[in-house]
């Protein structure tokens, strides 16, 4: 496997002209507005689209989503885009596959069918270790048939070199490639094109973009994605998100067998 970018010019040819260089997507030009338009998939959320460089999830790029280890907001974040990419007739994806690589548990067929996902397009790949994860990820993103790959980092954390391999492989594909990692790695470097942090709030999903290619300084403002109304239920008054009122402090997460107090 070659680690060089596929479009890197061979050494023997003459020096590339400025125009040729400007055609490349990976040349930094000081301002994100001048960057060539990249293919992107509508996220399904206007407020999120506005903050993303290509007005949507970038194609052929590694997107890294960090969230607390015990919480999951992945489907809420990506489901509209996954449905968009399936129905989008302008891109060259007609019924491509959605692959879940190393998901934490099995998805629930009833919920996915209800959301409109075609189960014929959904594929699940389980891996045992990091080496299998890497080779499977690279294999999947290079495959034209995969429109989207959602991958969950294995038990052994991925190092920078391994992430770089994933990021490079992603440039060879055409779909949306999202890697989910615990939020403890937020302050570590990563070659991902886009890095987000997810956090649940009482009535919305808070998204914070902390790295985006083309942006010099990260805009840390929180983007709030609404929840389906049926999920909201009837919250106790104390837990409602009330403007102006300080939010109640959330106690630290207790492991199942952690506390002995109060056990019946």
């Amino acid at each position: 496997m070659s680690l060089n970018p596929p479009d890197a010019p061979p050494e023997t040819t003459a020096a590339p002209s400025l125009e040729q260089l400007l055609c490349r997507e990976d040349i930094w030009r000081g301002g994100s507005s001048q960057a060539p338009a990249r293919l992107a998939v509508d996220t399904g959320y206007t407020q999120l689209n506005e903050r993303l460089a290509g007005r949507g999830w970038p194609n052929a790029s590694l997107i890294e989503v960090c969230q607390p280890p015990t919480s999951h907001g992945e489907w809420q974040l990506l489901l509209p885009a996954l449905l968009n990419s399936h129905n989008n007739t302008h891109t060259n994806s007609h019924g491509g596959l959605l692959v879940l690589l190393n998901p934490p548990v099995n998805p629930f067929a009833q919920a996915l069918l209800k959301a409109g996902i075609d189960l014929e397009r959904l594929l699940i790949v389980k891996v045992k270790d990091k080496a299998d994860f890497l080779s499977s990820f690279i294999e999947l993103v290079r495959c034209d048939a995969c429109d989207a790959v959602m991958a969950w980092q294995p038990q052994q954390a991925l190092g920078y070199t391994e992430l770089r391999k994933c990021a490079l492989a992603s440039t060879e594909g055409q779909g949306i490639y999202v890697l989910f990692r615990p939020d403890t790695v937020c302050d570590q470097s990563s070659p991902a094109v886009l890095r987000l942090r997810l956090e649940w709030q009482a009535e919305q999903l808070a998204v914070r973009i902390f790295k985006q290619k083309g942006e010099l300084a990260a805009n840390n403002a929180v983007i709030e994605l609404p929840l389906p109304s049926a999920w909201k239920g009837l919250l106790p008054h104390a837990q409602l998100d009330q403007p102006g009122k300080p939010k109640p402090k959330v106690a630290s997460v207790t492991p199942i067998h952690g506390g002995r107090r109060g056990r019946r």
Partner: protein, 511 residues
Amino acid sequence: MATSSSHQARKRLWWALRLPDLPAHTLGLAIHAPELQVIAEQRQVVWISGAAEAAGVHLGMDATTAQMLSGCVVHERNPMKEQQLLAELAEVMYQFSPFIELYTSDSYTSEYGPQSGLLLEISSCLLLFGGVQSLSQKIAHCIASHNISLAMGAGHSKAAAWLLSFVNYSLDGERVEFIQRLSLLPIGLLHDFPRQVDALDKTGFVTLADIIRQIEAQSISSFKKRFDHDFVDYLCELFGIDQDFQQSSLFEKPVTYFQPDEFFAEEIQFDYPLHQHEQLQVPMETLLQKLAEYLRKRQLQTQHIEWMLSDIYHNHNALQVYADSPQTHWRLLFDLSLIQLENRDLPFEVDRLSLNCRTTLPLQARNNMLEFDAARKINRQHFSITAAKLKARLGDAAVYKLSYRDGYLPNDTNQRIALTDICQQELPDIHRRAQRPNWLLDAPAAVEMRKQGLYWRGKITLIAGPERIQGNWWREPSARDYFIGLRQDRQRLWLFWDLHKQQWFVQGIFA
């Protein structure tokens, strides 16, 4: 046309290669050894050595009686191995004639054991091999080199050649001569038709000449009245009688060509022993390209290839590669082979690499789903290669699809299926209306009940529900009240109160 066809039929010359001791050869017994040896099938003696015969054992005898009588060693017959040996000999005989048929008769009498052998049509090969004498010597020599005893007979038809192999005549002649020779044979030789032979015997028929006389006197119709079609057809073939058909050539069975078992086997010997699997890549590619060429020319495809690595000390190591779907192209087989190689160290320094492909199937037999969308078709094809690689690396069970299945309990409605299976996607309205989590735990996880409330990796507050799901009474009755719970980290969970167990469980996560 009728004339030319029957003319062809008249010119035919069949040779029977009868292998009387085939049961003994397959078991590796020495035929002329002084030991008393017997082969039995279902406790009945089907083959006896010369020494055993001298001791009074005869065919058809009970194996225990034979043992008591002579103290002989009883071996069990292996018909499958006999067929295998016969097929191998047929492939050897393919060098002499393209018309070969296998003959096996399992019926046996007190005189003759079960008989098997080969039938060759050689009229068109005589010129090439320099006549009857020369060809018969070559064939006899070839069979003798395999240490197999042989009896040969010639005739104008398969049946005649087979019967004449029981007596020693020259291997040449005309139809009239053959019929003359047949007339001297006893009717007991027709051992494929024991019931008919018995009936003829009781009527006073002794030799085949008696049958010929009967046919000459009253035509074949007298036999047609008394015996079944099979026997009458056999007699017609044996004596070359044209039955009363207007266009007899229509009913003439043509001689079929023998199809030898064809397979691909190629090898590369290296100039120096290789010790790294990277060095094997180029030779592997070369061999696989040859295989692809072989498959393309014969319009075949394959799912299984075998690599054989050998070293200079004749150590061998086999590598089996299976593809998910039949392949005509070499690329996927190459990638799968590389994945297998990556996962193991070379057992020795490889001196020779060979590729065998024995199982192929015709290209026409392949059926594809009708795909009207060209892009989708290409995508599927591309993915089949990726899927095969993933399966080779991770195992078949690691790559799967999800399907809905009718059921009461949530876990029962979630089904893992293979990539080739078709998903059930019709969701009943009752589920479509209800709130369902995106992640479903493999088994419900028990929730801790404390004074302050419910705890599962954090304190949970119930915010919506309940939804009663009950049923499954025929297996394990269950009644559950499902709720949506909000954990203190604002993660929404799907949890239920089990009415039978009186306990809370978490079953899903709203992600």
